[in-house]
Subunit: 319 residues, 2 copies
């Protein structure tokens, strides 16, 4: 099911070369794939949609005011991390022994600068720490207690583990090893944001609590540049959600970029190919925006919490 190009009137403007008007800015967000919206109470559904709408509006407002792509994706993902309805930051899922281990990545499409953290336990907003890695170290990926140590030195907001716990949201699951990954898709809730700003710059950010009941320091695709997160001004910005392992082995985010660059495919075609031809059924979803501000949203799961807006008047959310 593709949600790309639905909605959004094509008002007059610069042509992009395929007959569609260019957009000044565009933003897409996701709050994770897999959950069946029908299983949520009417109240919970409404609250989740309201959460998505609020975050989307904040991002859109910043973009229309000339905000920079990198700042917008960071801000938007921070808001989603702070919203306990999503599996990132507060409200994240727990490991098999009931702890919170968080992953995040951010990437700037201009120079392909990027930063990521994996397995952090003390940082309120992992996406903020990922950006510090990008801007204040020569590194890309910091993990575990070392990343928490870096957080301390950077004076980002530290919180006790209890901060992430939200009654009724992150219920610890039994040992995960006896279950197939796909059985737990229900619980995926990674958050992400991709943006094209008015300068034509792209950025992507993804944050997650990972797999419910994960153990052994398992890391998914979210903090892996090229797998769950990628941005390149020459092609597109991508953020993924789903069974991280399937996204890593296909380098999904970079694969979409490469199909644009070398395969002559449109963003929509590339995203559709990866989601429906390459990934296994029920494994996840992708949001993406290309250099001309075209949006693609696609999933092979039943549900996807998403939102999309652009300067042409598109403004919608869904579950």
């Amino acid at each position: 099911m593709s949600l790309g190009w639905l909605g959004g009137p094509n008002v007059a403007g610069q042509e992009t070369g395929d007959g569609r008007p260019a957009v000044a800015w565009a933003i897409v967000i996701h709050g994770g794939a897999g959950g069946t919206a029908e299983r949520l109470s009417e109240e919970r559904r409404a609250a989740k949609l309201a959460g998505l709408r609020q975050v989307l509006e904040q991002g859109a407002a910043r973009l229309s005011a000339g905000g920079e792509a990198l700042d917008v994706v960071e801000h938007v993902v921070k808001l989603l991390e702070d919203d306990p309805q999503f599996n990132a930051g507060r409200g994240a899922v727990t490991t098999s022994d009931g702890r919170f281990e968080l992953d995040a990545a951010i990437m700037d499409g201009r120079q392909r600068a990027c930063g990521a953290v994996a397995g952090v336990q003390t940082v309120r907003n992992p996406i903020e720490l990922a950006r510090r890695v990008m801007e204040r170290t020569p590194h890309v990926l910091l993990i575990g207690s070392g990343a928490d140590q870096f957080a301390k030195e950077q004076q980002v907001t530290l919180v006790p583990q209890e901060y992430f716990a939200v009654p009724g949201i992150n219920v610890p699951l039994p040992n995960s090893q006896s279950q197939l990954l796909h059985d737990r898709l229900e619980y995926y809730g990674t958050v992400g944001c991709v943006v094209r700003d008015t300068r034509g710059n792209l950025a992507a950010a993804t944050s997650t609590g990972g797999l419910p009941g994960k153990r052994w320091g398992r890391i998914g695709d979210a903090p892996i540049i090229g797998a769950g997160t990628f941005a390149d001004n020459e092609s597109c910005a991508v953020s993924c959600t789903g069974v991280g392992e399937e996204f890593i082995r296909r380098a999904v985010a970079h694969e979409i970029s490469a199909q644009l660059k070398y395969g002559g495919r449109s963003l929509e075609e590339a995203v559709r190919d990866v989601v429906h031809q390459q990934l296994p059924a029920k494994s996840g979803a992708v949001i993406a925006v290309d250099h001309a501000g075209r949006i693609a949203i696609d999933r092979n799961t039943v549900g996807l919490a998403w939102g999309a807006a652009d300067s042409q008047g598109r403004n919608e959310v869904g579950l």
Copy 2:
């Protein structure tokens, strides 16, 4: 400087489509880029070449006897991990506080199954643990103490940290943050192996002690599928060495595969483009083999410890 297609007589055989005879099997190894061979004593150079030759011969012997690609890359990287002359396993470099934190990844080109570990401290052969992740968990990447815990459960050979220390080889460096990454290239010594077996299957494996003097749980490209390690029977198998951050942000290993698949480039052209057009000067090297057994070896550093052999009689090592 490309070392692809040098040496190795083109004896009669099946054509690959570009006029070159098909090879039954091919293997390439590396022992890291950056070190200037001239700075080593004559004895050390001879010992390093002998080490490469011995490992290459063992891999070639297994392949010519019908060994499977995946088994051969694991075996070869284990040998390189055990050889203290290279920055992986025994003889690895230390972190800023004098510890050993090891990373490794392995990938099977048949189904793109893969496994990786990062920041492990107790495992004699990280590449063996990476294969266990691939075959005995639903996961791809395990990090830190969780990965060490998994190692314990899997009964792979555990060793105390002192095992990795080799007098005269892994001298702790001062705090790394004050230095540019490139200044330390001298010390890069990641090891890797790519193979095409007689069945036409590809595999890749990479293992490293990472950046000398690293801190904050810094992880480079070696354990990142798509960055430092990738294998896909439809395109090629790739293993990288160098400034990991530069390889991650370009998803180098997957980029080479994508140029073959979508860009119509040969392996040699794709490797040359990435090493000389995309990566910054002096940032590293790539070894690769494609589905037809063609070999590409390229570097933008002064030195590269490498070896290559195939069923056509190619058999050479260099520094």
